[in-house]
C-alpha cells in the first residue's frame, strides 16, 4: 500500500502540478522504446573488452595470436597497437570524462578488471570467445583495496569553517565523537552501459547510454581529435544511470576507435561484471563527526572530517560535507575532507553524491546526540533549525525543514513513540522508530529549446537533453500543453540528440528546473509568431486584428474578448498562410547568473520517518513503514515525482541494509559482482511508503517554482533506518550496511 499526496499550487485546471502518467510509458511497456544497445545498424560488429585479472601492476606480455585467428575476429586492439587518442581537456566543464586516463594509454594496471585489450568480431559470441583466448602475463603487486581509510597522514582540505570549533567542542556540555563508514556501492541501473559507434567518412554517430548527450559529444570530439560538429550522440531512452552514466567511460572511446579502424558500426555492451569494476561506484567514505551541544540541546560545535577513497588515476571527491554547513544552526563549525587512493576503478557520483553518505554520518551523530541528551530526536532538529545559511550568511530561497519534520511526525504518529530501546512491540515483534532530516541542493543551468507549431496541428519541442527514466519527456509535454491548450496526443517531445538545441546534463536533480524556463520561453515565442501570422494573413477571420489581442486556447486562435470556440484552429491559420509551421527558440541561463537567485541559498529539504520490525530471536529485521515529507518547490508532476521518491526510499533500504561491493583483498576483484550476490532491495524488502510534497514554489529558481526531486528522496533514509535499528535493538551501527552480524549483538533477545 502506497499513497501520494500533493496539493497543486497552480490553478486546479492547470496541467502543471497534475499527476499525469508519463508519455513514454506505453513505449517502454510495449518494448518499442529503443535503448542504446537496441540500435542494430546494418553491418554492425561486436566488441568485447578483455579485463585485467590483477589489481595492481603492469602487463608484461600480451599474446593475441590465438584470439586473432579465431573465427569471425576482425581486430584485436591493445596498448601496443592503438592509434593516437587524446585525453579530454582537464577541468573543461563542457567535456567531462569519468576516467581521465584513456584506455590502453600504457601497460600499467591500476585496478582489477581494467580493459587490456578489445576484441572485435562479426558476432557477440565470437568476440566473447576470443576475449578468453587473449593471453596476458602481468607483473603483479598486491593491490591496495583496504576498507579502512584511517590512519590517514595526508593533507586535509577545509571545505567550510566558522567560529572556533575545537574550543567549542572541548567546552561543550554534551558530546558525540564517532566515526561513520559507508561502503562502496555500485550503480546498478538495469540497462547496462552500451555504446554503438558508427563512422561514416570523418563523422561519427554514437547511440549511447548517457545522462548527457551534449557533454558526451564534446568529450568524444576531444578524445578522438575531431571537431565537435563531426560527432553526433543519440540517447532516446535510458534504463537509468544513477550518476554512473553522467560522463563517458573508456568503453565509449574503444567502440569509436574500433569503428574508425574497421569503418563499420561497432556495438559494445558492458557486462554486469564489468559494471562493478569499470564504470564507477559510490566510493567508500569514513567520516568522523564531533558534535557538541549545551545541556538543553542547542548545538555549539560541529566538526566533520571526511575521507573518501578514490582511484589511482583520478581525484574523485565525494563531497560528504555538502549539507553539513547549512542544515543546522551552529556557531562553530568546520568541515574538512581528503582523498585516499586505492586500486579501484574511478568512483563516480551516485544518486545524492556527498549529501547521502554525509547525511548518514551527520544524522546518525545527531541521533546519538539526542540519546545522550535524553531528548526527542525531532525536537533536537527543531531546536537547531537554521533561519539563514550560516555558512555564508545568505537567506534561503525557500526552506521548510521545520514543516517537513512536523508534518512527518504527525503523519507517522511519532508522538506515540516511547524512547526506551526495545520498548515498543507489535504482534510478537519489537518495533523501532527512527527519523532523520534530509537536504539536497537546488540548481538550474543553461538550456536551449525549440518549439514548433506545425501545420499538422501538433506542437513539438526539441532539446538535446535526455530523459533518464524520470519523466522529463512528460515535463516538456506538460508545459507545451499548458501553453497551447493541446492534449498530449497532439504534442511531440524530441530529446536525446545533439543535432538539437543544447540542453542540460541529467544530474544533480536539476533537469526539470533547468528546462522549464527554456521550453516555456520557446513556446511563448512560437505562439507570438503564430498570433502575428494570424493577424496578418489575408482571408483569415482574425486578419487585421492587433496580435496582442489574440490568444491561443485549446489549440484555437481567438480574440481575447471571444470564447475560444469562436476562434480558428491554429493549423488552419498556418494552412491559409501556406506555412508548414512556426517555431520559437529560447535559451535560459543558469541560476548563478540570475539576479532573482543572487545572494540566496537554494536547497531542497525533507524528513524521513522509519519503522522497522525486529524479530530478535532470529535476528530478522525488515523496514515496515516509511513516511517521507519533501520540500522541493512546486511539484510539476506529482505522479512521476512520487515515483522518484518511492524508488529512492527503496534504494535507501538497500543502502542501509544490503548494498556493499566487496573486493577480494588479494587481487582487488569485486567478488560479488553480479545481481545475485550484490544485494539490492527486492519488492518484499520494500516498505509501505507515504510520500508528501509540501509544494511551496521556489520562484527564485525559476518562474514555475520547481526544484528537483531525483535525489532528495534517498537523503536521510539510511540514517533514519539506523536510528530505528538502534531504537529497536540497542545496537548502534556506524558502518553500513547494517547486517545480521551486527543485529546478533543485540541484548534484546525476545519480543
Amino acid at each position: 500500500m502506497e499513497s501520494t499526496t500533493a496539493s497543486a499550487a497552480g490553478s486546479p485546471h492547470s496541467i502543471i502540478g497534475r499527476p499525469v502518467a508519463r508519455i513514454d510509458g506505453p513505449l517502454k511497456t510495449t518494448g518499442i522504446a529503443q535503448y542504446a544497445a537496441d540500435f542494430h545498424l546494418p553491418g554492425t560488429v561486436h566488441a568485447v573488452p578483455v579485463q585485467a585479472t590483477v589489481g595492481n601492476g603492469a602487463i608484461r606480455s600480451l599474446d593475441v595470436s590465438a584470439a586473432r585467428s579465431m573465427p569471425g575476429v576482425l581486430d584485436v586492439i591493445h596498448h601496443g597497437n592503438i592509434e593516437r587518442i587524446y585525453r579530454a581537456v582537464p577541468n573543461d566543464p563542457s567535456a567531462t570524462v569519468s576516467e581521465t586516463r584513456p584506455p590502453f594509454e600504457d601497460n600499467r594496471i591500476y585496478y582489477w578488471g581494467q580493459y587490456v585489450a578489445l576484441i572485435v568480431a562479426e558476432t557477440l559470441e565470437q568476440a566473447t570467445a576470443a576475449a578468453t583466448a587473449v593471453i596476458v602475463e602481468y607483473s603483479a603487486e598486491t593491490p591496495s583495496v583496504s576498507g579502512e581509510l584511517e590512519p590517514f597522514a595526508g593533507k586535509w582540505q577545509t571545505v567550510s569553517t566558522r567560529g572556533n570549533v575545537d574550543d567549542a567542542f572541548a567546552a561543550a556540555a554534551v558530546k558525540v565523537d564517532q566515526t561513520y563508514v559507508t561502503p562502496v556501492e555500485t550503480h546498478n541501473p538495469i540497462e547496462l552501459h552500451a555504446t554503438v559507434a558508427s563512422w561514416a567518412g570523418d563523422t561519427v554517430t554514437f547511440y549511447e547510454s548517457t545522462q548527457g548527450v551534449v557533454n558526451h559529444r564534446n568529450a568524444m570530439a576531444q578524445i578522438l581529435g575531431v571537431p565537435r560538429e563531426n560527432v553526433t550522440v543519440v540517447t532516446k531512452f535510458l534504463g537509468s544511470g544513477f550518476g554512473g552514466k553522467l560522463f563517458p567511460w573508456s568503453h565509449c572511446a574503444l567502440a569509436a576507435v574500433a569503428s574508425r579502424r574497421l569503418q563499420r558500426p561497432v556495438k559494445l555492451v558492458v557486462t554486469r561484471t564489468m559494471m562493478f569494476s569499470n564504470v564507477g561506484h559510490r566510493p567508500l567514505t569514513e567520516q568522523r563527526f564531533r558534535i557538541g551541544a549545551g545541556a538543553a540541546g542547542k548545538l555549539v560545535a560541529l566538526r566533520q572530517d571526511a575521507l573518501n577513497h578514490t582511484s589511482m588515476v583520478d581525484n574523485f571527491d565525494e563531497g560528504c560535507g555538502e549539507a553539513t554547513p547549512y542544515l543546522y544552526s551552529v556557531p562553530n563549525l568546520t568541515v574538512t575532507s581528503a582523498l585516499v587512493q586505492r586500486n579501484v576503478g574511478s568512483p563516480m557520483a551516485m544518486r545524492g553524491p556527498g549529501a547521502v553518505p554525509g547525511l548518514f554520518a551527520m544524522e546518525s551523530a545527531m541521533d546519538e546526540l539526542a540519546v545522550a541528551l535524553k531528548m526527542d530526536p525531532v525536537e533536537l532538529r527543531l531546536k537547531n533549525d537554521a533561519a539563514i545559511d550560516e555558512s555564508n550568511g545568505q537567506k534561503f530561497s525557500s526552506r521548510h525543514l521545520r514543516e517537513c519534520l512536523e508534518t512527518g511526525s504527525a503523519k507517522f504518529g511519532w508522538s506515540k513513540r516511547t524512547p526506551g530501546v526495545g520498548s515498543m512491540r507489535r504482534d510478537g515483534k519489537v518495533l523501532g522508530w527512527g527519523m532523520a532530516a534530509a537536504s539536497w541542493g537546488a540548481y538550474r543551468f543553461g538550456c536551449s529549446t525549440t518549439v514548433e507549431l506545425g501545420a499538422d496541428g501538433k506542437a513539438r519541442a526539441r532539446c538535446a537533453t535526455q530523459d533518464v527514466g524520470t519523466g522529463l519527456y512528460t515535463i516538456f509535454a506538460q508545459v507545451l500543453s499548458e501553453k497551447t491548450g493541446l492534449p498530449f496526443e497532439r504534442i511531440e517531445v524530441l530529446l536525446g540528440d545533439t543535432t538539437m538545441p543544447e540542453g542540460p546534463l541529467s544530474g544533480g536533480s536539476w533537469s526539470t528546473a533547468t528546462v522549464l524556463p527554456a521550453v516555456a520561453g520557446a513556446a511563448d515565442n512560437a505562439i507570438a509568431s503564430l498570433l502575428q501570422i494570424a493577424a496578418t494573413t489575408p482571408g483569415s477571420s482574425l486578419s487585421g486584428a492587433d496580435a496582442k489581442t489574440l490568444r491561443l486556447t485549446e489549440g484555437r486562435i481567438h480574440r481575447s474578448s471571444d470564447a475560444p470556440a469562436r476562434g480558428v484552429p491554429f493549423e488552419s491559420v498556418l494552412a491559409s498562410a501556406r506555412l508548414n509551421g512556426v517555431s520559437g527558440d529560447s535559451t535560459s541561463g543558469s541560476a548563478f547568473e540570475d539576479p532573482k537567485a543572487k545572494g540566496l541559498s537554494m536547497h531542497s529539504f525533507g524528513a524521513q520517518f522509519v519503522e522497522v520490525e525486529w524479530d530478535p530471536e532470529i535476528a530478522r529485521l525488515r523496514v515496515s513503514r516509511v513516511v517521507t515529507v519533501i520540500d522541493a518547490g512546486r511539484i510539476i508532476n506529482p505522479r512521476a515525482g512520487a515515483n522518484q521518491i518511492k524508488g529512492a526510499v527503496v534504494m535507501g533500504v538497500g543502502m542501509a541494509l544490503l548494498e556493499e561491493t566487496v573486493y577480494d583483498p588479494r587481487n582487488g576483484q569485486p567478488i560479488n559482482g553480479n545481481l545475485a550476490d550484490y544485494l539490492v532491495a527486492t519488492s518484499p524488502d520494500s516498505p509501505e511508503i507515504d510520500v508528501t510534497f509540501l509544494d511551496y514554489p521556489d520562484y527564485a529558481l525559476n518562474s514555475y517554482g520547481a526544484r528537483g526531486i531525483g535525489e532528495i528522496g534517498l537523503a536521510g533514509v539510511a540514517p533514519a533506518i539506523a536510528s530505528a535499528v538502534y531504537h529497536a535493538t540497542g545496537v548502534r551501527v556506524r558502518k553500513l550496511p547494517i547486517r545480521i552480524e551486527d543485529l546478533l549483538q543485540s541484548e534484546i533477545r525476545e519480543a
Partner: protein
C-alpha cells in the same frame, strides 16, 4: 567459442545412451556454461522425458518425477497438505521465474555458489581443478559453510529443496549404465574431504528419475525456516527444516536438517538425539542447537552463522512443536 551439440531425448534409454550432459531447466548449467565453468560437448535435454508427475504411492508416500518443476511441486496439493516443509523450502528458493524452469533432478544437483568456483580466472579451486587449492579460504567467505568443511573446500551446498528432502528422509532413484539404483538422500551427498570435485554418488551417465518420500508421519508438524539478508531471492545464510511430533509436551519424533551452513544438505543427528523424549522447552531446543553446531568451523567472515543457525533451529523447533 565452446560449441556443443544439443538433442532432446524422448525416452529414458535415449537419454542414458546418448553419453551427453543432461540438461533440465538449465538454470544452473547454462549459467555455468556462460561463465566457462562447465564445458559440456553434448547436451541432452531431458525435459521431454515422461518423468513429470507427482503420484501418491500405495504405502502413502509420494513419488516425484525428476522433471517436475519446482513451482509445480511447491504448489502440488499433496505436497502442500502432507509435506509442507518441502513446499515452504521450494518457495523460499530463487525467484518465481527460476522456480518455473528448475526441475527436481536439477535442483538436487545444483552447484555451489562459491564465487571462486564460478570464476575460472581463479585457477585454485579444488572443486573445479582437483589439487589446485582453495581460493575461498582466505578470500571472501561470508557465505561459506561452517559444517562438513575440509582443508580443501568450504563451499556451501545451496539447495533449500534438498534440505527439506533430507529431513523427510527421501530416496533418490537413478538409472544408467549400472541399471536402476536407489540412494537414501543421506548417502547421496558426499562431504568434500580431499576430493571436493566428487559431490554425490552418481556415476557418469546416471540419470535421476525420481525422488520418493516416505508416508508423512501422522501427527507430526513440519517447518522450513530460512534466514538471509534480504526478504527474497537470496540463498540461505542459515536454514532449518524440522519434522516433529510431541505428546504430553514431550518430543516423540524429530528430524532436523540445516541449509546454508553445510557442505551438503545437513542432517543434524546430534540435535535429534538431544531432543528425543525431552520436554519441548526452549532450554532443550537451545541445547539441541548447541549440539548441532558443536563441530562448526567458521572462517574469517562467517562466524556469525554459528549463532544464527542455532537461533534458526530453536525457532523452527518452537514453531513445529507449538
Amino acid at each position: 567459442m565452446q560449441s556443443f551439440s544439443y538433442s532432446k531425448a524422448q525416452t529414458l534409454d535415449q537419454a542414458t545412451a546418448a553419453g551427453g550432459r543432461f540438461i533440465g531447466g538449465g538454470t544452473t548449467l547454462v549459467d555455468l556454461m556462460k561463465q566457462g565453468v562447465e564445458t559440456p560437448k553434448m547436451l541432452v535435454d531431458i525435459t521431454g522425458l515422461p518423468l513429470s508427475s507427482v503420484e501418491t504411492q500405495p504405502d502413502g508416500g509420494l513419488m516425484i518425477g525428476a522433471m517436475v518443476r519446482n513451482s509445480d511441486l511447491a504448489h502440488h496439493e499433496a505436497v502442500k497438505a502432507q509435506y509442507a516443509v518441502l513446499s515452504q523450502a521450494l518457495l523460499s528458493g530463487a525467484s518465481p521465474q527460476l522456480r518455473n524452469m528448475a526441475t527436481t533432478g536439477g535442483n538436487l544437483l545444483q552447484r555451489t555458489r562459491c564465487p571462486y568456483f564460478r570464476d575460472p580466472s581463479y585457477s585454485n579451486c579444488n572443486k573445479r581443478n582437483p589439487g589446485s587449492g582453495c581460493a575461498a579460504i582466505g578470500g571472501h567467505n561470508r557465505m561459506m559453510a561452517i559444517l562438513g568443511t575440509s582443508e580443501d573446500c568450504i563451499a556451501t551446498h545451496p539447495s533449500d529443496m534438498a534440505v527439506a528432502m533430507t529431513v523427510l528422509e527421501a530416496t533418490i532413484h537413478v538409472e544408467g549404465p549400472k541399471g536402476k539404483r536407489t540412494f537414501e538422500i543421506a548417502d547421496f551427498y558426499k562431504l568434500p574431504g580431499t576430493a571436493p570435485n566428487v559431490e554425490n554418488a552418481l556415476e557418469p551417465g546416471e540419470l535421476i528419475t525420481h525422488v520418493t518420500l516416505p508416508a508423512p508421519r501422522k501427527g507430526s508438524k513440519q517447518v522450513y525456516l530460512k534466514l538471509r539478508d534480504r526478504a527474497s531471492y537470496e540463498f540461505a545464510l542459515a536454514s532449518a527444516a524440522v519434522v516433529a511430533e510431541t505428546s504430553g509436551g514431550h518430543i516423540r519424533y524429530v528430524r532436523v536438517a540445516l541449509g546454508g551452513v553445510g557442505t551438503r544438505p545437513w542432517r543434524a543427528h546430534e540435535a535429534e538425539a538431544a531432543l528425543m523424549g525431552k520436554p519441548a522447552t526452549a532450554a532443550h531446543f537451545r541445547a539441541a542447537a548447541e549440539a548441532a553446531l558443536k563441530d562448526a568451523k567458521p572462517q574469517s567472515e562467517n562466524g556469525f552463522k554459528v549463532e544464527l543457525a542455532k537461533r534458526c533451529i530453536v525457532r523452527a523447533l518452537t514453531t513445529a512443536t507449538a
